[in-house]
Structures are given as C-alpha cells and as structure tokens.
Amino acid sequence: MRRFALIAVPYIWLLALFLVPFLIVFKISLSDTALAIPPYTPTLKDGFGALIQGLDFENFKFLTSDDLYYKAYLSSLKIALFSTILTLLVGYPMAYGMARAPQEWRATLMMLVILPFWTSFLIRVYAWIGILSNEGLLNQFLLSIGLISEPLTILNTNTAVYIGIVYTYLPFMILPIYAQLERMDDSLIEAAEDLGCSRLSAFWLVTVPLSKNGIIAGCFLVFIPALGEFVIPSLLGGSGTLMIGKVLFEEFFNNRDWPVASAVAVILLLILIVPIVLFQRNQQKQAEAEA
C-alpha cells in the first residue's frame, strides 16, 4: 500500500500539472475558430460525439503552409542556443571565482548572485530599457568618455535580447556549476600539478570534467526557458526579432485564433521534450552516481 502511494504521488502530480493542461491545449489545437465565447468549436457543450468528430489536424497542416512558423522556431532555437553559450561563458568564471574565494566570502558572494531575484523580473528587464536606449545610461557614458561619437542603437535589436536573456538567466547557470565546483577536492589539482600538469591543463583535465554535471544542468536551465521566452524579446527586441513566443502571442491575441496558437504551443512542447528528457537522464545518472 505504502509502495503504491509512493509511486502514485509523483504520477498524480504529473497528471494534474502536466498531462491534463497539455491535453486541453492539444484538444484546442484540433478545433476550429469560431466567433463565440470561447472562440473555438466544438466544445463539450456540443456533446462528446460531436466533439470527437469535429476535431482534425487542419491547424498543423496550416503551420507547414507558411514559412513564418519554421523560421520562428529556428530563430528561437538559434537565440536560445547562443544565449546559453554566452551565459556559460559569463557564468563559469563567476562560479569558479566564487568556489575559489575564501570560505568566509562565499556566503556573501552567493547572496550577491541571488539578491536581484528579490526584485520583480519585469522591473529588471524594464531597467535594461533605461540602460540600453539611445539616450540611456550606457550611451551617455560611452559618449562622455569619448569612445563613440554617435549613440549606439542597442535597444530594439537582437543584441538587446541576448543581453536580457544572459542577464536574467545567469544565476541559473552559476548556481549548479558553483555547487559542483565547491564540492571539488582541491588535492586533485595538486595531484595533477605534481604529476606535471600546467595550471591551465589541470583546469581543462580535472576541473572542467568534474564540473560537467553542473555545466549540463545550467545549460538546460537556461536553454529551455529561453526557447519559449516572450517578455524579453517583446520588451527589448525590435520588430525584426522573430521568436516563437511572440508568434504565439500574435496568433492568440491578434488573430484570435486559439486553435492555431495551441498548435504552435504543442509543437514547441515537442521540441522541448528532447532537451527535457536529456536533462532528466543526466540528473538521474548523477543521482545514481552519488548514491
């Protein structure tokens, strides 16, 4: 009995929080638009038989007929991938520095990484508008030290989107890497150096492989939410920034086409399932290795 409960609880969790919402969205993606409340047909009001008969894959076919959608998926994948790499490049040295810092500093440094979370995410992204705009802090600073003579246009471009994503998701990269590096046994580095490794090759041959799990966890934690990101591209990006989150918003709000919007969401989920499964596997392997 206890065993059953132990197994059932996570599955009920999965059912309630993932499967049921997904099935609702999937059902809408097979419906047609209608000028009604809610704006699609058929609904349960029409009876179960009519509901099943009224469903088809028309909307998925539609997604292949217009190149907007695959371009948006590709562009989102590209932006998510590059920002993950950038976040890793910025985050790893920070995590490394934290782990190498004297013990009594570490709590403070950790605090500094977490502190921005105490402010609303939206307000922090808005702050970047003030920093990056043509009359913003960054341009004024660069102009005043004479580095540039014309203000740089950063806001409303993809560059601003990258800055926004890297800034927002940086802690998700730093924390898992830090957790790995902090547990690392320093004597391993000494041993490597005793055996003739230079500092740099000791870093590559010992430190990096030992923090691999943290790197993988961090990359997934950044990549997955960045792929479907909506707030950052719509506030910092320009009209040339093509991301699937924005396309989804437009289908939903401008076309009032819930079925097509749902189809876009279902495909986004299918794309995300691959990295999510890989991530889960990695976590499991890690847990087993430690057990």
Partner: protein, 361 residues
C-alpha cells in the same frame, strides 16, 4: 465555539456580499481619463472603482472571448465592438438606468449605429482620428519650411522617411488602422476586404520600413513629448496630449497633429457591459456618470479627444472645442472614413501582412 464560528462565517459572507455590491471594474485604454473623475465617481456613489488599462483592442477582445474577464465596463473601438456583439460578449443596456443618455450627440450616434444597431449595447466614450504627429522644429529643420506635415507623403514616401529616420519615427502597432491608411495612400478603398488589395500595403511599407524605429501603440506619447522621436503615426488625442506635456515641460518641443489631408480614419471608442459582468447595476451607474455633461466635458478637456456628448459641449475648454484637430470642421469631417470588421479569414491575412511588414518575414 460553533456559534462563534457561525457568526464569523456570517460576518465574512456579509462582508463579501457588500464588497460585491459596492465595486465596479472598468477596463479602459491607457492615458484615457482624468483620474480626478475616478475619485469623484467613488465619492458620489460610494462604489469602489477598480480601474485597469490596456493599449490594444486585440488584448481586450481576447479577454472578452475567453469569458469571465471579471470586468463590468470595457471600451472597445467600433469595429471590434461589432464583432464582439456578434460573438455574444455584451449585454443590452438597460436604458431606464441611464437617464443621461439624452445628452448624447446625434452626429456621433448616427455613425456608431453601423457598429451597434440602435446603440443598444454601447455608449460613445470618445472618438477621434488616426493621423500624424510631428515635432515641428525638427521636421522643418530636416525637410525645410514646407515639409508636408499634413500629408501621408510625410510618413509613406521613402524620400521623406529616409531623412526623418535620424530623428526617430514611431508607427502605431495596430494593423486595423495602419493598413487602411496605406490603402488610402495608394488610392485603394481603405475598407477593402479583398486579400489581394490588402497585400498591396506590404509594398508601401517595405519602402519605408527601414526608417521606422518602432511599432508601438502607447510609447509615442512620451517619446514625442520628450523629443526622443520627431514623427509618430498615432491617435489624435494621444498626440495632442504629447503636445500638452511638451508645452508644460517647456522643453522647446512643439508638437502638431494633423489628420492626413488625403483622408484619415475616424474611430469610436464605445463603453459596453460584458455579458458576464459581476456588477451590472454599478456598471450602469458608471456609464450614467460618464454621460453627465460636466463629467464628459472634464474627460475631454483632460485627454484632448472629442466625445459623443452634445450637452457637454458648453463645458468644453475653448482649445478643445475650438481645435479642428479635435472637433473637425465640416470639410475635414467629409474627408474622414470609417472601416468595418474583417471576417476571420481576412483577419488572418491582415495579421500576417502586418507581421511581414514589421519583421520583414
């Protein structure tokens, strides 16, 4: 103990009941009311007013069609209202609760009947035009003294736009208004529902697209007033608010608004009560309050939009009622056009065309 609990529950439900009866939730456009009016309504009626804002008809429509928006009064524009009435999103107004309806102006109600037959579901809040706002100083400095500030040539002719790009140009992010404007410019029927005709706007915008800094429907008020941009295609009253803010700030920025001489779109923002509004009684009180001559005048004097309230006109400031940019003279009025809602298939073409125009994809 049980008794105490029961009394407690009764008290709580009583409180909840009172709270339900004494509030009204209004969802209106941003920068669209004199906030003193909100306080005045609460004072006069004792009803708690919860005021929330949006900046696009599309967002409002999605909330309405999802059902259970929780709002008691919403303010869609005419074409959107018409479609939402068809979808069954509104309830008929109870005219017996709206004695101030006699204040309304025939010139406006005649026109809003095309969206809301017999004006059974809505009252007019404000109406205006979609046109061009310019920072006169900067635009004349760039294009010369005879810059075509009252013509679509200014914003849709690439020769002018390429020069204006350096000082910043914003366009509305509202396809239902921007596409008719481009159609007017190339001499087509602005209310065309023919996908092939609508597609022609792509070419018009492709030529000026590189010079447009941003498509946004509310940022331009501040941007114009601060001098961050020098041209905006926007809504009449918003641009006039920018003019006013710049004058108040005394920052040397002089803003002017013109409905394009080729013809400009006229729109009507209508107040209506959603079919599932929780506080219907209070919603009627709010509509009646807005239709009071002095209140309607106060709103127009603040937001620089014309209202559909005849009785309010004697209380309007001279620079509102006397400004042809707000209350157009007969010649301009003749030059204004209205549009009708797009059917769903055409709506998709319109949105897709607009996405292509904005993103180049």
């Amino acid at each position: 103990m049980i008794k105490a609990l029961l009394t407690g529950t009764a008290a709580v439900s009583l409180l909840a009941g009172m709270a339900m009866a004494e509030e009204v939730r209004v969802y209106n456009w941003s920068d669209y009311i004199d906030e003193e009016l909100l306080a005045k309504f609460e004072e006069e009626t004792g009803i708690k007013l919860i005021y929330d804002v949006f900046d696009s008809n599309e967002v409002l429509e999605t909330k309405l069609l999802a059902g259970g928006s929780g709002y008691d009064v919403v303010v869609p524009s005419g074409t959107f209202l018409q479609r939402q009435i068809t979808a069954g999103a509104f309830q008929k107004l109870d005219m017996s609760k709206l004695p101030n309806i006699s204040n309304m102006w025939g010139v406006v109600t005649d026109r809003t009947e095309q969206y809301d037959p017999d004006n059974a579901y809505s009252i007019n809040y404000m109406w205006g035009t979609t046109g061009i706002g310019v920072n006169l100083g900067k635009v004349r400095e760039i294009l010369g003294e005879d810059a075509p500030v009252d013509s679509l040539e200014l914003v849709l002719n690439p020769d002018n736009m390429s020069k204006l790009a350096e000082c910043g140009v914003h366009f509305l992010d509202a396809p239902a208004e921007m596409l008719p404007m481009a159609l007017k410019y190339i001499g087509e029927d602005p209310d065309s529902h023919d996908p092939e005709v609508i597609a022609k706007t792509e070419e018009v915008y492709a030529k000026v697209r590189p010079y447009i800094q941003k498509f946004h429907s509310s940022e331009y008020i501040n941007a114009l007033a601060n001098g961050d941009i020098c041209v905006a295609v926007g809504w009449s009253g918003d641009i006039l608010q920018a003019r006013d803010r710049a004058a108040e700030a005394d920052n040397g920025v002089e803003i002017a608004y013109h409905a394009a001489k080729e013809g400009a779109q006229m729109w009507f923002d209508q107040m209506a009560i959603p079919v599932d509004a929780p506080n219907v009684e209070a919603a009627h009180k709010f509509l009646n309050f807005i239709m009071d001559a002095k209140n309607a005048a106060a709103a127009s004097n603040y937001v620089y939009y014309a209202n559909g309230n005849k009785a309010s006109q004697e209380f309007l400031l001279e620079d509102v009622i006397g400004d042809p940019a707000i209350y157009p003279d007969d010649d301009t009025l003749e030059n204004l056009f209205t549009t009708t809602p797009y059917p769903p298939k055409v709506q998709r073409v319109v949105t897709r065309t607009w996405t292509k125009i904005k993103s180049g994809t």
